[in-house]
């Protein structure tokens, strides 16, 4: 097995991941990523994920070894902010050509590193592997090792070619790279009992700076943020922190867990989004620091700051709450922030019309259910048309999502707010929540909506009206014809990976007396792909058990 394959297996074996622990040995081998469906996939690759995770280290030269596509098409497009160096925003790539593909690109890579060292003299060079050199067999690790020795400078190979998987996997592979080559290689000038690491925070739009002043006020030092606004030295000496907070769901859980394992740094998983979550995170930070020997009085001061900040935030949100109460929000985002944003919006009086769980882990889904109770209307892989239908039926007043799905909302002429990584506004901490509420208010109250919803003078019916009519006609035809309605219901796809419909599962349960998810899987294959539909299969089994073996519609 190659090193990369080992690495990926290792990442998949992540014991810190709750979801992973629930899997069988066989399933675990398959990995934690959904099989990407050709023709129906959207989202970044592992290289993208690795770059996202590490690029916020500001004083490092990030060199992408690959053809121009990988860096040329994507450079300087992320909003991670720096308080000092801007070297991380300089696009470095080997831009390999045909010759490099045929004869190998190692020499070009080595020369590139030399040029960077000569011209920019960064504290370290990170070299990102991409698909093509991975295929031609360039030995990136050997080149980095040689370059590091020659230039007497850390040269870190980040092995995450795009084809190995999606962004989330890339995040973890990036974590592995810094665990192997960076963390623990330098020592801090001094340490304090108040030193923490923040892992998985990228300082997008400057969000770390919405939180840092409060930590400063408490005398808590961020020894290293991995990786927002970080310097190489900080990451390299982060193994001396007393405690760590892991932000951003599971993206860098391997870093947090392995640092606990190797250096005894305990961590908790928290969020800076939402007033309650922010307060909990501050408490947890203090609690862990006190456990590790910081004076007990830290907690009292933390509580005082929390009390003051919560009052201040509410004071500033209050003027908006009246206007926002009852407004319904459709939240389409990666798992990363779903649950934390849900809490935050509810604090401002808004209702959640629905939330996507596309990239959420099972645990994320549970948290959303916990927060939203019975109203949880999670939308798994919503198609643009469904999103439109939902918006159109005024079940949502505004959509919050990442940049790519914005156009569904905008074409449906619905207010929209960017909450993913390309966003320009910072929403972390108490400050950020006030900003988020202000932004939502701004979007909802913009008079542009009244304008753009005007029908064109030559239009007898708008496309919205036509779409609505088509939706109504479909509903009416189903209501008029029970057989058709039943066929429609049975045709609903449950397992996308194995293409199994609800009807097929129901029939199999009825005819073969199946009584477990595993049995259904063995019979039909359903739930044996990514595993994402197992909950649904369990629900179908539950329903059948309650209603008797024969579906009511067939019995009648």
């Amino acid at each position: 097995m190659t090193t990369l394959a080992n690495k990926i297996q290792d990442v998949f074996n992540e014991p810190g991941c709750g979801k992973n622990q629930g899997k069988s040995e066989k399933e675990r081998k398959k990995g934690c990523t959904k099989q990407l469906a050709p023709g129906a996939a959207a989202g970044g690759c592992a290289f993208d994920g690795a770059k996202i995770a590490l690029q916020p280290i500001t004083d490092v030269a990030h060199l992408v070894h690959g053809p121009i596509a990988c860096e040329g098409n994507s450079w300087d497009n992320r909003g991670a902010k720096s308080s000092d160096s801007s070297l991380y925003r300089t696009g470095f790539t080997t831009d390999i050509g045909e010759n490099d593909v045929v004869f190998g690109g190692e020499k070009r890579l080595f020369k590139s590193i030399k040029e960077i060292v000569d011209k920019y003299d960064p504290p370290a060079v990170f070299v990102y592997q991409t698909c093509v050199p991975a295929m031609t067999g360039d030995d990136i690790e050997a080149v980095c090792k040689a370059a590091a020795a020659k230039f007497n400078k850390p040269v870190v190979p980040v092995i995450s070619p795009g084809f190995v998987g999606p962004k989330n996997l890339g995040n973890k592979l990036a974590g592995e790279a810094i665990l192997d080559y960076v963390i623990g290689t330098m020592e801090p000038e001094y340490t304090t009992p108040y030193d923490i690491n923040i892992i998985g925070e990228y300082n997008l739009a400057g969000e770390l700076w919405q939180v840092k002043p409060l930590l400063d006020e408490l005398g808590i030092r961020i020894l290293a943020c991995i990786s927002g606004d970080a310097k190489y030295r900080e990451v390299a000496s982060s193994h001396r922190a007393r405690a760590a907070m892991m932000v951003c769901s599971k993206a860098m859980i391997n870093v947090a867990r392995k640092m606990e394992e190797r250096y005894g740094i305990p961590f908790f998983e928290g969020s800076f989004y939402g007033i309650g979550d922010m307060s909990d995170s501050l408490r947890e930070i203090s609690r862990l620091l006190i456990e590790r020997g910081a004076p007990q009085e830290l907690m009292a001061r933390t509580e005082a700051v929390i009390a003051r900040e919560e009052v201040r935030a509410w004071e500033r949100i209050a003027p908006y709450t009246a206007r926002l109460t009852g407004k319904r929000v459709l939240l389409i985002t990666g798992g990363v922030k779903s649950w934390s944003v849900v809490a935050a919006l509810q604090e401002a009086g808004m209702e959640i019309a629905g939330t996507s769980v596309k990239k959420s882990t099972k645990e994320d889904k549970e948290r959303i259910k916990e927060l939203m109770g019975q109203d949880a209307h999670m939308i798994d892989d919503m198609t643009p048309r469904e999103m439109y239908k939902m918006l159109k039926e005024a079940r949502a007043d505004i959509m919050l999502s990442g940049g790519r799905s914005q156009f569904v909302a905008l074409k449906a002429k619905m207010p929209w707010l960017d909450i993913n990584q390309e966003r320009h506004h910072a929403y972390a901490g108490y400050e950020g929540m006030v900003e988020l509420v202000a932004e939502i208010d701004k979007a909802l109250s913009n008079p542009v909506w009244a304008q753009v919803r005007l029908p064109a003078p030559w239009e007898e019916t708008s496309w919205e009206e036509r779409a609505t009519k088509a939706i109504e006609a479909e509903a009416a035809s189903l209501a008029a014809d029970p057989e058709k309605a039943e066929a429609h219901r049975r045709a609903r796809k449950i397992c996308s990976c194995r293409d199994v419909s609800l009807g097929a599962i129901e029939d199999a349960i009825a005819s073969k007396n199946l009584d477990s998810v595993a049995a259904v899987g063995a019979e039909l294959g359903a739930g044996t792909g990514c595993g994402g539909c197992q909950e649904k299969i369990a629900a179908i089994l539950g329903e059948k058990a309650g209603a008797g073996a024969i579906p009511a519609s067939i019995a009648a």
Binding site: T191, D216, G219, R301, E315, K442, A450, Q451, L454, W458
Partner: protein, 466 residues
């Protein structure tokens, strides 16, 4: 809805306003073979001339009756007569447009009387069109002078019909206010012609001040609407008056020849253009062509893409009433807040303007009211205020002497509205502030909360590193 107020200051500081006579002169510049003349001292003309030259970057035909001290006291009959004869000799225009000035109005020259006398004395010049408009400098503003000159052109050249003449339904008159650039007029012509209609613009700056290189040297205007075409305006099916300022001219045309008119107080923005396009479709009996449908779609998309950058932005605008109304209303529709609006002269639109106040005042007033505005919009003289305020300036209106292409700025139609979103939205994007580590650090003295910072040194314990 705005409260319309008049500045109470005795001293105007950094004027926004320009004078009536040069407004009148600009209207005459949109008539073919015309020589505008300011009846005043030669300085009146030379200041106007320099202003137009700097704005349009073109040779500007503008003459003067060169009133000297004696003529000013005794009356300008001779100067009017001599200037017309000289202009005829040197430039041979088809039309001479005369605007009075502060000097000659203060004295009280009866120019209408002078011209009657002149006609009697010079029957050989019976074919020469002479239009006189009273535009004292000490009253009203540029826009008013322009509007009055257009009304006078109608009264002078459109025959009065006892019974309305046979109409040519495909012909439409377009009375184009001074807030329209030559580029705007080209855009409107394009839109109107889409419906198979034949527009006659009065005045038509697109022919004269669009910056083309003329075939040969002409001391008069290089193009524009001909006197003959103005004479035919009574036979058009409709008059489209663009800008509230064109109402009087439209009414005059209706009174003389029974041409009904529709007034479009602005053509910047989606609903405004929808109304315009619907109207054209109605009078032409033709559906909106695909080209316009696509342009509308592009505008809607630009509004959606742009609104993120306009929402809650604070904008201060100084412009003449029709321009203020057109652009300001649209910016409000895009979500911006008009925090200061200053204009030059009264208009029925001002009270309806979407800001708390519209002040008839100057750029000092605008600067004082602009406060923490994100953007200043006014003509090029706003540059000093913008610099002091540390806000970007979007140059709008006349004069724009420190940028190229002022004549080709287009803010009307679906396309012009779309371009305006891009131009102003890009300024906002360029201005977006970069956060830094101190951006969100609080000073608690200001909001009554307590700073809980514990003094630093006792917290930092240096420990030996293992």
């Amino acid at each position: 809805m705005a409260l319309v107020t008049q500045s109470k200051k005795a001293c105007t500081v950094n004027p926004l306003k320009m004078s009536q006579p040069i407004g009148g002169a600009l209207a005459f510049m949109g008539v073919a073979g015309c020589m505008p003349v300011l009846h005043g001292s030669q300085g009146c003309t030379s200041f106007g001339l320099v202003l137009f030259v700097r704005h349009f970057r073109e040779a500007i035909p503008l003459q003067t009756t060169a009133m000297n001290e004696v003529a000013t006291i005794l009356g300008g009959l001779d100067n009017i007569e001599q200037s017309i004869l000289n202009i005829v000799k040197r430039a041979n225009p088809q039309v001479i447009g005369i605007c009075s000035t502060g000097v000659t109005e203060t004295k009280g020259d009866d120019v209408d009387g002078y011209l009657k006398l002149f006609r009697k004395r010079h029957p050989e010049l019976a074919d020469l069109g002479i239009v006189y408009v009273s535009t004292p400098d000490f009253k009203d503003a540029f826009q008013d002078g322009f509007a009055k000159a257009v009304t006078k052109l109608v009264e002078e050249f459109v025959p009065r019909y006892e019974t309305p003449p046979q109409k040519a339904p495909q012909k439409v008159n377009v009375l184009a206010g001074c807030h329209l650039t030559p580029g705007d007029i080209d855009e409107l012509r394009d839109v109107i012609e889409c419906f198979g209609l034949q527009p006659i613009f009065l005045p038509d700056l697109s022919g004269s001040l669009d910056g083309h290189i003329p075939e040969d040297f002409t001391p008069t205007t290089l193009g524009g609407v001909s006197r003959a075409d103005i004479g035919e305006m009574g036979k058009a099916g409709w008059t489209l008056a663009i800008g509230e300022q064109m109402r009087d001219a439209a009414v005059a045309l209706e009174a003389r020849a029974g041409v009904p008119f529709a007034l479009f107080d602005r053509l910047t923005g989606l609903a405004a253009n929808d109304a315009f396009v619907s109207f054209l479709s109605k009078i032409s009996g033709r559906p909106a062509p695909l080209k316009l449908r696509r342009q509308r779609g592009q505008l809607v998309d630009a509004m959606l893409d742009g609104h993120f950058h306009f929402g809650a932005k604070r904008i201060a605008i100084g412009a003449e009433p029709d321009l203020l109304w057109s652009v300001g209303s649209f910016l409000r529709e895009m979500g911006a807040e008009i925090v200061a609006a200053v204009t030059t002269t009264s208009s029925p639109l001002l009270a309806k303007f979407p800001s708390n106040e519209v002040l008839i005042g100057d750029l000092e007033d605008l600067e004082q009211r602009a406060g923490d505005a994100d953007l200043l919009i006014t003509h090029a003289h706003g540059r000093q205020a913008a610099e002091r305020l540390g806000a970007p300036l979007y140059r709008l209106g006349l004069p724009t002497f420190d940028r190229l292409g002022a004549a080709h700025e287009v803010t009307v139609g679906y396309r012009g509205s779309r371009n305006l979103i891009f131009a102003i939205g890009n300024i906002f994007i360029a201005q977006a502030h970069e956060p830094n580590p101190e951006s969100w650090r609080q000073t608690f003295a200001s909001d009554g909360h307590t700073d809980l910072t514990t003094p630093g040194p006792q917290l930092v314990q240096i420990e030996p590193v293992a």
